[in-house]
């Protein structure tokens, strides 16, 4: 097992068999195979709460993505210094500080989105995916890989939020990315689409039960795709 840097920490795991680069493996894991929502089934509470529109899902996804990347980078850089007895408090301190900074930033610069997401911004701290991934990956891998992993996991999570948000918004209000210009800034305004004009709305999809059903459908769909892919490779 090659040492990737000096210091009393375990080196990165070797590349998967078949010559796949570890970067590709990290990307594949974060975006699909080990997706925070569809495979790990973590962070379902904020997922269901904010995905009534695609815009809110995108907003929370980007905030979480930032925290995932930044926390992975910092925790990985400090992994040689963090010792077991104080591991959890230190990790939580770092993650909570990052989330608070994001919260302040959003209140100052993205105020409407901040109001729409409300409590769920500070609740990013409780997102198991962040602390869990820090424990499993960031504290055992060098910064470049850990940061990339944070990015991929974050993108996978954001993808889940946007897809679920999009489905629920489309079925529930007939629009996609409603108020994107207002919430995220004018650069995002191009996303706004009214797919079904004068839609009376299917309320169930916007309420939590509808969210669960849609999520279940997406998970089943992913399993189906995975199974087909395996069958083709067999």
């Amino acid at each position: 097992m090659a040492e990737t840097d000096a210091g009393p920490v375990p080196a990165a795991a070797p590349p998967a068999a078949g010559g796949e680069s570890r970067w590709r493996r990290i990307a594949r894991e974060g975006l699909w195979d080990n997706n925070v929502v569809f495979t790990q089934m973590l962070a379902l509470c904020p997922l269901l709460a904010v995905t009534s529109t695609a815009t809110n899902g995108l907003g929370l996804g980007l905030a979480t993505l930032f925290v995932m990347v930044a926390s992975a980078a910092v925790i990985s850089a400090l992994r040689g210094l963090i010792t077991d007895p104080v591991r959890i408090p230190v990790l939580i301190l770092l993650i909570a500080t990052l989330v608070t900074l994001v919260d302040m930033f959003m209140e100052a610069y993205l105020n409407r989105l901040y109001q729409a997401l409300g409590l769920f911004i500070p609740l990013i701290v409780t997102n198991c995916a962040i602390l869990g991934r820090a424990e499993v990956f960031a504290s055992r891998h060098p910064p470049a890989e850990a940061t990339f992993d944070g990015l991929m996991m974050g993108l996978g999570f954001t993808g889940a939020l946007v897809v679920l948000g999009g489905i629920r918004e489309l079925l529930g209000s007939g629009t996609l990315f409603e108020q994107a210009g207002l919430m995220l800034g004018d650069t995002f305004a191009f996303l706004e689409v009214t797919v079904i004009p004068d839609y009376s709305g299917f309320l169930l999809t916007i309420l939590p039960p509808g969210g669960f059903i849609a999520l279940g459908g997406l998970m089943a769909g992913k399993r189906l795709l995975d199974r087909r892919r395996e069958a083709r490779q067999a």
Partner: protein, 223 residues
């Protein structure tokens, strides 16, 4: 994956303690810096929001005529209420009054718009910590529960009518969250009583004072 031995200095208690303390110090510093950098913009955003909230409960057309810095502060029953006057032709035609009550998760702040007779034009919840999905039905964006207060006054609703139906009053509560609507009803009732007690001052256009940073909060600034 085996964990290699840590160097000996990292196995001492003093190290763990120092590490935690240092990280805490660095995190605090980062937060202080972050706070300083964003404070002004957050204040501006809150002012804008305050103007919009006032506009929503008074007959103002848009936020143009609103001066959030010109407030009347009244003390009633041990609490302070901040009020903004809506002027038309030199007369006060409406008053927006802040009020609050303890909800389930913390203080709920409400702004109530009243006409000269003390009849409610509209009420809006400014800030709350109630349970998302349950207590947050008090928000105008989530349900029209708050519209039930329109047109109400101390004149047309008796004292024991100012409670949720469960408590023998006239206001609907929503399932699973009695404490929240109860608090909002109490807050609005308090506002009406405060208005009644200080009506003369509230309707006097000369009573308003200029404040640099009005927040509409009950711990009003002094200056």
């Amino acid at each position: 994956m085996s964990t290699p031995e840590r160097p000996s200095y990292q196995q001492r208690t003093a190290y763990h303690v120092t590490l935690l303390g240092t990280v805490a110090l660095l995190c605090s510093t980062a937060l202080v810096i972050g706070d300083q950098q964003t404070r002004e913009r957050i204040e501006t955003a809150r002012q804008r929001q305050l103007s919009e909230d006032i506009a929503e409960v008074t007959p103002a057309s848009g936020t143009a005529g609103i001066a959030p810095q010109r407030t009347v502060t009244i003390q009633h029953d041990g609490r302070a209420h901040t009020a903004w006057q809506h002027l038309a032709g030199g007369r006060v035609t409406a008053v927006a009054l802040t009020t609050s009550a303890q909800g389930y998760g913390g203080e709920i702040r409400v702004i109530v718009g009243l006409d000269r007779q003390g009849e409610i034009l509209a009420a809006r919840v400014l800030e709350h910590q109630e349970t998302p999905g349950l207590g947050d039905q008090i928000e105008a964006e989530r349900s029209d529960w708050i519209d039930a207060f329109e047109g109400r006054s101390l004149a047309n609703t008796p004292p024991d009518g100012w409670a949720v139906e469960k408590d023998g009053g006239e206001f609907d509560q929503f399932t699973g969250a009695t404490i929240t609507p109860r608090a909002v009803v109490e807050a609005i009732h308090t506002a009406l009583l405060a208005f009644q007690a200080h009506r003369a001052r509230l309707l006097d256009p000369r009573a308003a004072e200029r404040h640099a940073h009005p927040t509409g909060s009950e711990e009003a600034d002094h200056g």
